[in-house]
């Protein structure tokens, strides 16, 4: 029962994040890159002011799978690094997202090498 509730929360929070994004697209004619940047910064900001934790405790993957999670990891890495020194404060963000970043480049490269764009139809 508890696992069902967890997934329901994930669905609700993730859906809500995406619906807010859709509302932004509908109202402001934003392109996808802009929406991604906006939510990434929102995630980073929420982490910086310490609020992200509360949403994550409630919604789990609902907030970490959207790009907000990427922003959170960047900010969390920087905050963690700041405890050690200025150098780590600057590099901590990128270090924290190294796995995702590497995966995106490596998978992107390999898959783009072997695939072709498919015909699009009306």
């Amino acid at each position: 029962m508890e696992i069902f509730l967890t997934y329901l929360k994930v669905f609700a929070v993730g859906g809500a994040v995406c619906a807010i994004g859709q509302l932004l697209i509908n109202k402001t004619k934003m392109t996808s890159a802009r929406v991604l940047v906006t939510f990434l910064l929102a995630g980073a900001l929420l982490e910086a002011v310490g609020l992200f934790r509360y949403i994550e405790d409630f919604g789990k993957a609902g907030i970490t799978i959207p790009i907000t999670g990427f922003g959170k990891t960047l900010a969390a890495g920087a905050i963690e690094g700041a405890k050690q020194g200025l150098y780590q404060a600057c590099t901590g963000g990128l270090a924290a997202v190294a796995a995702g970043f590497t995966a995106a480049i490596a998978f992107g490269f390999v898959i783009a090498l072997i695939s072709k764009s498919k015909p699009k139809s009306t």
Binding site: T31, S117, K118, P119, K120, S121
Partner: protein, 334 residues
């Protein structure tokens, strides 16, 4: 003979003797499929890229036009035409296949009107045979003006679908055995900008240009809208057509059943084409197939063909520019 500020009456008899069309896969599933000479079965047309496919489409269309007309490239005085891509790559590259003088023209999606007008003017200066050819390809336009094909974006409700296809026509002063449509007058359009800046709403940006050119044509030629059986615009789509009608109605009464748009004619309603087709190939494909054949069979006697174009680029939109639009009107009568 020039008449008024923008309109020219064609003094010689300029026949549109032959046409040739090649349509894309989706256009071949649309309303006008029976009118196309050839429908390709895959968007790359056996090439390595869509740009190469567009070059090949043009080459094949012009070749089949010349074959139908029984002409050699040596008989043709010039190939006029354009497309939507930077540096008119498909037009220029396809013209290298023919030993014929070439003139690349650009009025965005209105290029076919510009080609017919320029062709008629050349024939009045002594040329005998001129080929007019414009094309567009969904995939090449999408990459240049919008996003990569595989990017998961949602088209806004005012978006249109770029037509894949080529239409080409042979203009000639040689007397024809059969009754042929003739270019009798044309009006060169001005660039009109009503300050709209949404690159996903081209119909609304182009409608004022169409209105400006049509009303100038009617005024300067001294005829009413009812002189023509059909006033047909290039790619305004449903919204642009509605806006054009409401502007024209203020001037010349009810015209709704007399005004149509190639972009509204080409696809079926259930095809996910947004508000209709667009692109330099849209007007040429519809004119060279459906409109031309209907005229030849006597279904239409006089049409005012008004291809419309939006002169924007991806960068101009990003720099905050609004969308300037143009329309050229060509009167075609049989």
């Amino acid at each position: 003979m020039k008449k008024g500020r923008q309109t020219y009456l064609v003094d010689k008899k300029v026949y549109i003797a032959y046409t040739a069309t090649i349509a894309g896969v989706d256009e071949g599933k649309g309303r006008l499929r029976d009118f196309f000479d050839y429908v390709i079965d895959e968007s790359e047309f056996g090439c390595k890229s869509h740009e190469k496919a567009e070059i090949k489409l043009r080459k094949h269309a012009i070749e089949s036009l010349l074959k139908n007309a029984g002409k050699n490239p040596a008989d043709v005085d010039a190939i006029l035409g354009g497309d939507l891509l930077n540096q008119l790559v498909p037009s220029g590259f396809s013209a290298r296949e023919f030993d014929v003088p070439f003139c690349g023209l650009y009025s965005a999606c209105a290029t076919f009107g510009q080609s017919l007008a320029t062709g008629a003017a050349l024939l009045c200066c002594g040329a005998q045979n001129v080929v007019c050819c414009t094309s567009s390809h969904f995939a090449t336009a999408e990459r240049q003006y919008r996003f990569p094909l595989e990017l998961g974006t949602q088209p806004p409700p005012t978006a249109q679908w770029t037509v894949t296809g080529v239409g080409c026509a042979l203009l000639t002063t040689e007397r024809q055995k059969f009754k042929c449509p003739k270019v009798t007058a044309f009006t060169l359009g001005k660039v009109i900008d009503m300050g709209l800046d949404d690159p996903n709403n081209m119909g609304a940006a182009m409608a004022p240009a169409a209105y400006d050119t049509i009303s100038a044509h009617l005024r300067e030629r001294g005829v009413g809208a009812d002189y023509y059986d059909l006033i047909v615009t290039g790619d305004l789509g449903k919204l642009g057509r509605e806006l054009l009608c409401s502007m024209l109605e203020q001037e010349c009464g009810a015209v709704k059943d007399r005004v149509n748009d190639c972009g509204c004619m080409i696809f079926k309603d259930r095809q996910k084409c947004g508000l209709g087709g667009s692109g330099a190939g849209c007007s040429s494909l519809v004119f060279c197939s459906y409109l031309y054949k209907t005229m030849k069979e006597g279904g239409l006697k006089r049409i005012l063909f008004v291809p419309t174009g939006a002169m924007l680029s991806k960068d101009s939109s990003l720099q905050g520019e609004s969308i300037p639009a143009i329309a050229h009107a060509v009167a075609i009568e049989i």
